[in-house]
């Protein structure tokens, strides 16, 4: 029984293969005859349409380093990365990731060996999504040799902060200064206030965590 089915399958398979290769052969011959004898010889040469390919540089990517003052926990180094997209000459959207580490509260320093937070919870990580506006475009003149374009911008957005084992909804507002060394390399100076509600030290309050940093970005 089984061999009969196998034979049947083989026969059908063989037939299909023959049909398929046969039809391929047939269409190839027809195609060949068409190609060798064109019915109408085109008289107009086809117009070459130039593909306009202009290098668009609306994205800006970079790294930054600076200081973050974590409320009640002192000031420490912060570093991170940012990616921005320039929507118009004025408006840009920015995504940033930053990392810092909290120091000791004054209570911890004074009391000696009391620790409010274990070391692994002192890591401060944030990300944010912000909208910026280039408020004051300008130029900077350094001696009579160099002129650089610059922009003073206002920026604000929302994000999340991971600190002391909690994720907190964070609002950031700030301002920055972008100095364009060339068309595609920029220096940034940025001042930002990261605000979130925290009940870490007993009562719930809005903490202000001020950050200032310098950064280098590339447009692409």
């Amino acid at each position: 029984m089984e061999t009969r089915y196998r034979h049947l399958f083989l026969a059908v398979g063989g037939l299909l293969t023959m049909l398929w290769s046969g039809s391929g052969l047939a269409s190839e011959t027809i195609g060949e005859s068409l190609r060798s004898e064109p019915i109408i010889q085109p008289e107009i040469a086809r117009r070459e349409i130039e593909d306009i390919d202009i290098d668009e540089e609306d994205f800006e990517v970079g790294l930054f380093v600076g200081f973050l003052s974590i409320e009640d926990f002192g000031t420490d180094v912060v570093y991170g990365a940012r990616l921005a997209y320039h929507v118009t000459e004025g408006i840009f959207m920015e995504m940033a990731l930053g990392r810092s580490e909290a120091g000791e509260t004054s209570y911890e320093t004074l009391s000696g060996d009391i620790q409010l937070l274990p070391d692994e919870d002192r890591k401060y990580t944030y990300y944010n999504l912000s909208l910026g506006y280039n408020l004051l475009p300008g130029e900077v003149f350094i001696s009579d040799q160099f002129t650089f374009n610059s922009q003073f911008y206002l920026i604000g957005g929302i994000g999340s902060t991971h600190f002391a084992g909690n994720d907190e909804f964070t609002v950031n507002i700030g301002a920055g200064y972008r100095l364009l060394l060339t068309d595609w390399v920029a220096l940034h100076l940025d001042l930002r206030d990261h605000m979130f509600d925290s009940d870490l030290l007993g009562e719930e309050k809005t903490t202000h965590n001020l950050e200032y940093h310098a950064g280098l970005t590339l447009f692409f």
Binding site: E48, I49, E50, I52, D53, I54, D55, E56, E57, D58, Y85, H86, V87, T88, E89, G90, I91, M93, M95, D121, L129, L131, N134, P137, G138, E139, T147, N149, I158, G159, S160, A164, G165, N166, D167, E168, F169, L180, D183, F219
Partner: protein, 243 residues
Amino acid sequence: MLRSLLLLVGLLPLWVLAVEDDLRVQITAPYVEMHTGPGSGYPIDYVVERGEWVSILKRRTDWFKVRTRKGKQGWVFLDQMQQSRLSDGTVLHIESLSAQSFQERDWEMGFHGGEMDGAALLNLYAGYAFSPNLSAELSLTQALGNFSSEYLLDLNLLSEPFPEWRFSPFFTLGGGMIHTSPNATLVQTEDRTDSTAHVGLGLRVYLTRRFYVRGEFRHYTVFTSRNENEEFNQWKLGIGTFF
């Protein structure tokens, strides 16, 4: 140091190639103003006359960096740049972005802020348009509650019946996962992951160029392993861009 030098040397031929490939156009407008920077606030420090040839070096938003034959460089605005022609005499066609371009988009992306079941939320999304009316979206949401953090990964279809309207409503339907992780200060529950389904409706308002604002309401159902399913609502407002 050595590696970056090597990289520079390696890139040099590419740069030379790019210089050779500059797009050259002839100005057909009576005159074209060259600004010192890519913005209307930057002063005009050079004027190119009709008939002159310039090379277009790059574009930033709606501004074009050009170089004249004498080597003078500056930035020209889109509507003046459009009044020029290529070496074969055809008009330089540059896409000026409008609400119409949104209907021809392939990709869009943006972010939202909002509220979900009493918790603040952050949402990042990207979408692909199959047609002006139908697109698929992938979105990642973090909801930050007092007692827990929730992460949502959603895949949804979005139908926009009137994409040509400036205020364009849309409907959405999809499903995904929700992951709940309690805050460190509470040590009673474990992390858990459940699947979800949602329906929603929203409004998109086109603003300018590649920029729009959009708001959305979604109703979620969570299929839990416990006895009853959970339901909650989500509101969000955000901005986006498209390509």
